[in-house]
Amino acid sequence: MNKKVQNYFVLIVMLLCWAVFLFAVAEMPLMGDPGNITNTHVVPRYLEKGVEEGGAPNIVTGIILNYRGYDTSGEVTVIFTALIGVLAVLKRENIKKDKSLVEISPVKTSVIVTTVVKFLTPLIILFAIYMILHGDVSPGGGFQGGAITGGSIIAFTLTFGLLATMRKFRLSIRIPLESSAVLAFIASGLVAMFFGLPFLTFLIPGFGFHTQELIRHALFIIIEIGIGVATGIIFASIFAAMGKVSKE
C-alpha cells in the first residue's frame, strides 16, 4: 500500500513537470513553419551550397561528414567506447572455453533456417556494401550499412553458433577492424593537416578542380568504409561477448 501511495505521488510530480513543459511548448516556434529561426539562420547555407561545399547531393551526408564531421568522429568514438566498455564488464569470448546457447541447445536448428540464412547472409552483406558506398546520393551511409552487416553476422551466429562464426573472424583481424572507424577519421583528418589546413578539411587547394573532387571523394569513401566495417564488427563483437556461455 505504501508503495502505491509513493507511485501516485511520483505520478503527480511527473504530471506537474509535464505542465511546466507545456508552457515552454506553447511558446516554441510553430512546427513546420518555413520562417522559423531554425530554417533561416544556419541551415540555408547548407541547403544552398551543400552540394558543392559538402560534396554530396544528400545534404544530411554532407553535414555528417563535412560541416559537422567532428561530431561524427566523436560518435564513432562513442560506439568504440561502448564496445570497450562491454569487454571491460563481460570479457571477450574465448573460442576454446566458451560456447553459445545455439551450440549447447539439444534441439538442432532446422534445415530450412540454416539454408535460408546461408543463402541470405552474402546478399545482406552485399546490400550493406551498396548502402555504405551509396550514402552520399540516397538515404544511407556508414552507420546504416554497418548496422546491417552486424545484423547479418548476428543472424549467422544465431543459426550456426559462436564457434563457427568467430572462427571466420579471428581476433587478430577483428581487433584492428574495431578501431578502424576512429583511425579512418583521424587519418583523413591528418591528410588536411599535412597540407597545413585545419583538421578534417576535405577540399585541399593547390590541385586542379577534378583532382580536388577526387581526393574529397576518396577521403569520404575511406571514412564511410571505415565506419561501416567498424560498426558491423563492433556489433558482432558485442553480441559475441554477451551471448557466450562458459562451458567449464
Binding site: 531554425t38 544556419v42 568514438t77 568504440f80 564488464v89
Partner: protein, 501 residues
C-alpha cells in the same frame, strides 16, 4: 598553418589516437600498453602546457574544424577555462604511471589493454568537453567520458561494482538526456549550436519560458554529473567501489565536468545579459550547494571505509565550488572574489583529491585493507605515502601554508561581500567538520601502535611513489610563497571574461 596552430585539435586527437591503437598494441605486446599511454599523455600535457601559456599571453584561441566558420561548422574554443585540459592531461599522466602496479596486481591479464584504452577514452572525453565551443559536440564528448566512466567502475568485476556502475549509468543517462533535451529547446529558439552564436541569438529570441525550461534541464543534468545534494546518490558507491586509480580520475576530474558544463551554460550561453533570467536559479543553486557542503561533511564524518570517506568529502567540496559559482556578482561594482575562489578550487580540489585517492590506493595495494579501524599505526610502516597523505589532508581542510586555504578564503570573502554571511558561516562550519574527520585519519595513522595485520607492510614501489610525491609537492608549492599566487593570477582574467568585463 604552423604546427602550433593545430594544437587545439591535437590536444584531443593525441589521446584519441592512443585509445584507438591501444587494443591493437595490447593484442600484440601486452607490456607496451602502459609506456604507450604514458608517451601519449606526456605529449598531450606538453601541448596543453603550450596552449595554457599561449592563452595567458594573448587571450582565447578559436580553431575551426574543417575550415568552416563558426555557426556552420564546429569550433574549438580554447580559453582560460579550457586550460583545465592541461590539468586533465597532466593528472591523467600521473594516474597512468600510478596504475602500472595496480593493473598488473589486481586485473586479469586480458583486461590490462582494456583498462588503458578506457582511461585514454575518458581523458579524451574530458579534454574534448572542456575545449569544445559547440553545444552538441559538448554532448558527444560528455557521452564518451560518461560511458568510459561507467565501464571503468565495473572493470575489476568484483561483487557490487556492477551494481554501483549500473546506478551511475541510470542516473548519468537521465542527466545526459536532460542536457540533450535542453539543447533541443535552445536550438529550436536560436537555430544554431555554436555557444557564442547561441548567446547572441538568445538575446533577440523572445521566448523566456523556453529559455528557462532549457536552463533548468541543463542545471539538472550538470548537477547530476557534479553530484549536488539531492542528486548525489550515485557518487559514494561508484567512487568508493571503483579501483583506486579510477576513483582518482572520477573524483578528481570527472565530477569537475559538471562544473565546467555549468560555467559554459551560465556565463557563455545565458551570459550576463539575461541575468534576471538566471538569478532565481542561482539562488536555488546556492542553497543546494550549502546543503551539499554540510551533508557531505556530515556523512563523511561517520564513515569507517577510507575511500567512502573521501567520496563524501568530494561531495562536500563540490558544494564549495558551486556555492562560489552561484555567488558570482553580475553588477560591475563588486570584485568577483567568490568566482575566482571557486575556479581556483576546481583546480585545487582536483589536485588534492587525486593525491588522496592515490594515497588510499597505495595503502590498499599494500595492505588489502580499507577500514580505518584496521589501519592503526600505518604511518610508521609507509612513512612517505602517509606524509603525502597528511599534506593532502591539511590542504583539503584549508590550513594556511597549503593550496586549499586561498580558494576557500576567497569564496568566504565573496559570500561576505555579497551580503550572504549565512553562507560564509556554513562554509566555516563545513571546514570545521572536514577538519574533524580528517583528524581521525591522521590520528589512526600516527598515534596508534601498528596492529598484527599490517606488521609486514612495506613502502609502495617507486612507480606509485613518484606521482604521490609530485602531487604532494604541488599542494605545498602552489599554496604558499611566490608560486602560491600563480593559479589566482591565471584565473582572474578568466573570471573577468566570464562576467563580461
Amino acid at each position: 598553418m604552423k604546427l602550433t596552430d593545430q594544437f587545439p585539435i591535437l590536444i584531443i586527437e593525441v589521446p584519441l589516437i592512443a585509445a584507438a591503437l591501444m587494443p591493437i598494441i595490447g593484442h600484440w605486446r601486452r607490456k607496451w600498453c602502459m609506456p604507450f599511454a604514458t608517451l601519449a599523455l606526456s605529449i598531450t600535457s606538453m601541448i596543453g602546457y603550450y596552449l595554457m601559456l599561449a592563452v595567458n599571453k594573448s587571450g582565447p584561441i578559436s580553431y575551426h574544424v574543417g575550415a568552416w566558420k563558426p555557426p556552420f561548422g564546429i569550433e574549438i574554443y580554447f580559453d582560460h577555462i579550457a586550460a583545465f585540459a592541461f590539468i586533465i592531461a597532466l593528472f591523467g599522466l600521473l594516474i597512468v604511471i600510478f596504475s602500472k602496479n595496480y593493473a598488473e596486481h589486481d586485473l586479469e591479464e586480458e583486461k590490462i589493454p582494456i583498462f588503458y584504452t578506457l582511461v585514454m577514452l575518458t581523458l579524451t572525453g574530458m579534454i574534448g568537453f572542456t575545449v569544445t565551443g559547440d553545444l552538441f559536440n559538448l554532448f558527444v564528448f560528455m557521452e564518451i567520458l560518461s560511458l568510459s566512466g561507467y565501464a571503468l567502475i565495473a572493470i575489476s568485476g568484483q561483487m557490487l561494482t556492477a551494481m554501483a556502475s549500473f546506478k551511475y549509468l541510470l542516473v548519468g543517462a537521465i542527466s545526459s538526456l536532460s542536457v540533450l533535451f535542453g539543447i533541443a529547446f535552445l536550438y529550436s529558439i536560436t537555430g544554431t549550436l555554436n555557444m557564442h552564436d547561441m548567446a547572441k541569438m538568445l538575446e533577440v529570441a523572445r521566448a523566456p519560458h523556453v529559455a528557462s525550461v532549457a536552463l533548468t534541464l541543463f542545471v539538472l543534468g550538470f548537477s547530476v554529473k557534479a553530484a549536488l545534494f539531492p542528486l548525489h546518490i550515485w557518487l559514494p558507491d561508484a567512487h568508493a567501489l571503483a579501483p583506486s586509480p579510477v576513483s582518482a580520475i572520477l573524483s578528481g576530474l570527472t565530477v569537475k565536468m559538471g562544473i565546467i558544463g555549468m560555467i559554459r551554460i551560465f556565463f557563455v550561453i545565458y551570459g550576463v545579459h539575461s541575468a534576471i533570467n538566471v538569478m532565481p536559479i542561482m539562488e536555488i543553486l546556492a542553497w543546494m550547494a550549502a546543503a551539499t557542503i554540510v551533508l557531505g561533511a556530515f556523512f563523511a564524518f561517520f564513515q569507517n571505509d577510507i575511500k567512502m570517506m573521501l567520496a563524501y568529502s568530494t561531495i562536500s567540496n563540490i558544494g564549495y565550488i558551486v556555492l562560489g559559482l552561484s555567488m558570482a556578482p553580475f553588477d560591475k561594482s563588486k570584485v568577483a572574489y567568490a568566482l575566482v575562489g571557486s575556479l581556483v578550487h576546481v583546480f585545487n580540489h582536483a589536485m588534492i583529491k587525486v593525491l588522496l585517492f592515490l594515497c588510499a590506493g597505495a595503502i590498499i595495494y599494500r595492505t588489502g585493507l580499507r577500514k580505518l579501524s584496521d589501519l592503526q599505526g600505518i604511518g610508521k610502516k609507509m612513512p612517505i605515502t602517509l606524509a603525502a597523505m597528511s599534506i593532502g589532508v591539511i590542504s583539503i581542510v584549508g590550513i594556511p601554508p597549503t593550496c586549499g586555504f586561498t580558494c576557500k578564503w576567497f569564496i568566504a570573502l565573496g559570500a561576505m561581500e555579497g551580503g550572504k554571511s549565512l553562507f560564509a558561516a556554513l562554509l566555516l562550519f563545513g571546514a570545521l567538520f572536514i577538519f574533524a574527520y580528517y583528524i581521525k585519519i591522521l590520528n589512526t595513522a600516527y598515534f596508534r601502535e601498528p596492529t598484527e595485520a599490517i606488521a609486514n607492510v612495506k613502502e609502495v614501489p617507486l612507480s606509485m611513489l613518484i606521482p604521490i610525491v609530485i602531487l604532494a609537492a604541488g599542494c605545498l608549492v602552489l599554496g604558499a610563497g611566490t608560486l602560491g599566487y600563480v593559479p589566482i593570477k591565471f584565473i582572474e582574467p578568466a573570471a573577468m571574461a566570464l562576467l563580461g568585463r
